[in-house]
Symmetry: C2
Subunit: 221 residues, 2 copies
DNA sequence: CATTATTTTTAGACCTACCTAAAAATATGT
DNA sequence: ACATATTTTTAGGTAGGTCTAAAAATAATG
């Protein structure tokens, strides 16, 4: 139905939309897909004819309901394959993205539903991102960027904003992974770096690191 | 390295070579890939430049050592994915071919090696075909077409020659599957049909069916 | 608000993988 | 062996997806 290239554009527009909720610019898409703006314009015209996006010249694009459901399906496939790679094939979480980028284009609804069942209907992928169910529904968990919390706040690490291999490997070296308890001991005013307690150990992390880590706050009732 | 299309040509030439051990004709490839002879000529020229095949005009093609190793790698991937689909995701054996045709093009040596380990290094795929190991080695098991056996011969069903969905579904309806015991009770001279004992039940099958079923003969020592 | 800078689109070209139609080479039959 | 049939290749064309360079539209700035 849709080529791999078309699917990549749809997915990219979907991801960019979740941030900006404006029309997505040609150049933003080009940057994400590492291609030229002129190529993007061509593809957008095609997707517009296929009723996947709404496009007016110079105004950027937005996904239609159809486009959104295609995107969610691709995201579902991508994240389920990531779970498979980590949970069943013992891949480290920083190596699964590239392979899932290929696997997400495999066409077989039954395959994905069986994989979902095989994995026990996981709700999050290895980076903490929500996995849409068969009907496209997903519920994001309550989470905040570590950088947005205050001194004394406690919580559990539940996700990453940046899932690049470099960042994830850095977290591995620091012993930071999903499920770990984190408490903010102090925030350094000079550079906004954070002194945190990770389980039992104290650790200092830069603001840049903190603004790429999601924490589920522990609300003491 | 190689496009999906190139991989499909290489795989097709490999499969045809295992039958004829002559140079493979343009038209044979075209027929298998459901394409035109002129398209095949184009692709063959390209593969020849890439040193995957040896090609002389009008003489057909043969795979080089490089071509053969690429083909075996694709076959390995195809068959491992088939095992995964049947053993882990509960797919029936007649539904896995099409999906494996897609999965076999995923590029990641580590993925395949991990999958191999996860599946416990299977030696045969769900249709009884041998799975090459990491180094491309595979040992075919001793097997004969049921149609080549004689009255009184006994054995175990170990493979199929035709793995079309139609044939496999037919076998399902007859209760024939890999591992079942088969004994030839009688061969009807008029139409070469066979009366066989399948485990405990007697069954009559046409010669066409028998010439698509592989049996490992039980040699009574 | 007019001029400059940036973004976006158009125009024309390339590459891959396919096609049709015609020409060239090989096979076949009597 | 020679005419005919078949196979294979060549020539030229199309569609998808990309590119560069130039033109058009929008955004930014003094």
């Amino acid at each position: 139905m849709f080529s791999q290239s078309e699917e990549n554009y749809i997915k990219t527009i979907y991801h960019l939309s979740s941030i900006s909720n404006q029309g997505i610019s040609t150049s933003a898409i080009a940057k994400k897909l590492d291609t030229k703006a002129s190529s993007v314009t061509d593809m957008i015209k095609k997707l517009s004819e296929k009723e996947v996006v709404i496009y007016k010249k110079y105004q950027g694009v937005t996904l239609t309901a159809l486009g959104k459901s295609i995107a969610i399906d691709i995201v579902r496939k991508h994240r389920l394959w990531e779970v498979f790679l980590v949970n069943k094939l013992n891949f480290p979480w920083d190596e699964v993205h590239e392979i899932a980028e290929q696997l997400e284009h495999i066409q077989s609804p039954k395959l994905i539903d069986e994989l979902d069942a095989f994995l026990n209907y996981p709700k999050q992928d290895p980076h903490g991102d929500p996995i849409p169910d068969k009907n496209g529904r997903m519920h994001a968990i309550e989470k905040s960027l570590l950088s947005s919390l205050k001194k004394g706040d406690k919580g559990v690490c539940v996700g990453v904003e940046d899932s690049s291999s470099e960042f994830l490997k850095f977290l591995d070296r620091q012993g930071i992974s999903l499920g770990k308890n984190i408490e903010i001991i102090n925030i350094e005013p000079f550079d906004d770096s954070l002194l945190i307690k990770l389980e039992d150990k104290e650790l200092s992390i830069s603001n840049k690191i903190a603004s790429n880590l999601y924490i589920q706050k522990i609300t003491i009732e």
